[in-house]
């Protein structure tokens, strides 16, 4: 794939590349990665709904109207009502808040902690590296959902506990990826130059290593977002996430949802669509982001 450009022409191309404004950057992304742009749209819509849930939701998500149990989807209640007469559309809108909150906080906390451990491990090397690596190996021996389940069972059902339970299994996964990237960054001459100029270790890490492992960090962050939302739904479904009457998507599917199969299948239908659509959006976006940020793939073009 090596087409030889005359030198000036390459220089022009590079300059043009860097001159792209944010708007142009977005347009370029939408043109080259239509699937990723679709994912971004879904995410934006989800964020919009979560922020303006109060204005958008037609009903109070907690308020049960016993005169209106199991109302079919229609003009009154677009997505119908559940066994307590609560409006499902409103609950899904408020549920977006919980899904996004848990997803963002858990994957941000897990990836950031993991990335810091990974960079420290790579930079320090020797015994520190060996110890941290073994510790991460041990944590990796637990399947994600099982570790989250065990942690959630100890902390008890509450939204902030779910965040912790989901963040902890992410730490070793992020640490491993970022460590690998930091190891190769560490070998660069500019890092050696900085060290020999007398830069302190935290200066080397903060100024020279961290900025260069941002790509794998961002890839990890977006990849974990979707899976964090999915894990939250699974934990809530199993009764270890948010407790009733919190409008969590997973919780809306648990227990009663399948027992009213004949009477009110919509109870089980719409929250599942919400989860799938949300996670689908994050996965599509994350995939395209990886294609752009991963230097290995980029070189292959």
């Amino acid at each position: 794939m090596s087409i030889q450009f005359p030198l000036e022409q390459t220089a022009v191309a590079v300059r043009e590349e860097t001159r792209l404004s944010f708007g142009e950057e977005v347009l370029k992304f939408a043109r080259t990665k239509p699937l990723g742009a679709g994912g971004a749209l879904i995410i934006l819509a989800m964020i919009f709904v979560a922020i303006f849930a109060k204005t958008l939701a037609p009903y109070d998500p907690y308020w049960g109207d016993y005169a209106a149990q199991f109302v079919r989807p229609g003009a009154e209640h677009w997505f119908g009502t559940d066994e307590f007469g609560r409006d499902i559309l409103s609950r899904i809108m408020y549920g977006a808040r919980i899904a996004l909150f848990v997803g963002f906080v858990a994957s941000f906390a897990g990836c950031t902690l993991g990335a810091l451990l990974g960079v420290i491990s790579a930079y320090a090397g020797g015994k520190v590296d060996l110890l941290l690596e073994r510790l991460m190996d041990i944590l990796l021996a637990f399947p994600l959902l099982i570790l989250a389940l065990a942690i959630a069972s100890i902390l008890g059902p509450a939204v902030h506990n779910v965040v912790i339970a989901i963040a902890i299994p992410i730490i070793p996964r992020a640490a491993r990826v970022v460590r690998a990237a930091a190891l190769s960054v560490k070998e660069n001459p500019y890092v050696e130059a900085a060290s020999s100029l007398g830069a302190s270790w935290h200066r080397v890490i903060l100024q020279h290593i961290l900025p260069n492992v941002m790509a794998p960090y961002m890839i990890m962050l977006t990849a974990q977002l979707g899976s964090a939302i999915l894990t939250e739904a699974a934990l809530s479904y199993l009764g270890l996430g948010a407790a009733e009457p919190t409008p969590s998507w997973g919780l809306m599917l648990s227990g009663s949802a399948s027992s009213y199969a004949e009477k009110a299948p919509w109870i089980a239908l719409f929250p599942g669509i919400a989860i799938s659509l949300g996670v689908f959006g994050f996965n599509l976006f994350g995939d395209s982001l990886r294609d752009i940020l991963d230097p290995k793939l980029r070189r292959k073009g």
Binding site: A150, G156, L240, A268, S276
Partner: protein, 318 residues
């Protein structure tokens, strides 16, 4: 190969010790006293002090932490995981009764997923950036996005609405009544298998695309070989290694899938056992199951590494 094997097997010993330690520590930071739970009281404190102390002694909770860990570890080595607080039966006995169902589900789901994933992955890669590729990619990304418990719920909804079918409660082994077993297992297998297949399809596609860029594939094309021969005989063979690894590492997905799927379909397997134990705060059972699942996971990963080394001589001589 022999030295490589010994090295790899020896390396998992410290990992397993660490796993045991982590499980032990996690279960010991449970807020609330297990002895109180067993005696049936809550934190209200209606329990006789002497009785409580006796229970502590019986459970060994009055001993120093390190000694407790030692006792537990010794038990693990002899396959003695204690007694379930909920049923009062030994954990191992409870487990053996539930293992066949989960094993059958896991094995069938893996087979189904591989049978789906490889043809579709190959097709997507061979027809890259066409509508076939897009369709397969959307379906497989969808498989990662759709929670498996919801797939299960939807299947139950459909079966109940269309056929008035309810999931049977008692597990029938395939050698007892193959037809009853099939009816019971087919939907859970589809539920778990779809998600698993989604992951594997994506991996097959991307590794195959990578291999297709190699020089020897260009040579194969230049020789004028048919597309079928180039893709299947030359490219697929070399793309299979990462896929084999993935089928192993995604075993974690499978276990997570078992936990939720068995709950949805009310199947009395190991996954359901975990959920029930967590719900009942049956700590010996949770401790044993989490440890055993981690152990299985470590052993499966070891086996995968060894297969990898078997197929690719470059690895074992490193």
């Amino acid at each position: 190969m022999a030295t490589y094997l010994t090295k790899r097997v020896l390396l998992i010993v410290p990992t397993l010790l660490g796993v045991a330690a982590v499980v032990f520590v996690i279960m010991r930071v449970i807020p609330g006293d297990v002895a109180l739970l067993i005696l049936g009281g809550d934190s209200a404190g209606q329990i006789d002090k002497a009785q409580l102390a006796a229970m502590h002694r019986q459970l060994g909770l009055d001993q120093p932490m390190l000694q407790q860990f030692g006792t537990w570890l010794w038990g693990v080595l002899r396959f003695d995981f204690g007694t379930s607080l909920w049923t009062g039966r030994p954990v191992v006995e409870e487990l053996i009764g539930r293992l066949p169902l989960s094993l059958e589900l896991a094995v069938l789901a893996t087979i189904v997923s591989v049978l789906l994933a490889i043809p579709f992955g190959v097709l997507a890669a061979a027809r890259q950036d066409t509508w076939v590729d897009y369709l397969i990619r959307v379906i497989s990304i969808g498989g990662l996005a759709i929670p498996s418990f919801w797939v299960g719920i939807l299947i139950i909804l459909l079966l109940v609405i269309c056929f008035g079918w309810g999931p049977p409660l008692e597990y029938t082994a395939p050698w007892v009544n193959p037809w009853a077993n099939f009816q019971q297992m087919v939907w859970p297998v589809v539920t778990v298998g779809y998600r698993y297949a989604a992951v594997t399809t994506r991996m097959t596609r991307s590794t195959l695309l990578e291999v297709m860029r190699d020089d020897y594939i260009r040579t194969a094309w230049a020789k004028g070989l048919a597309e079928r021969t180039v893709v299947i005989r030359h490219a697929l063979k070399n793309a299979m290694l990462p896929v084999i690894t993935l089928v192993g590492t995604e075993f974690a997905f499978l276990i997570g899938g078992l936990v939720v799927t068995e709950t949805v379909f009310t199947l009395n397997g190991v996954g359901r056992f975990v959920v029930d134990a967590v719900a009942h705060r049956d700590y010996p059972v949770v401790q044993a199951l989490v440890f055993l699942i981690a152990l299985t996971f470590v052993v499966v990963n070891l086996l995968i590494d060894l297969t990898y080394a078997w197929f690719d001589p470059r690895i074992r001589y490193r």
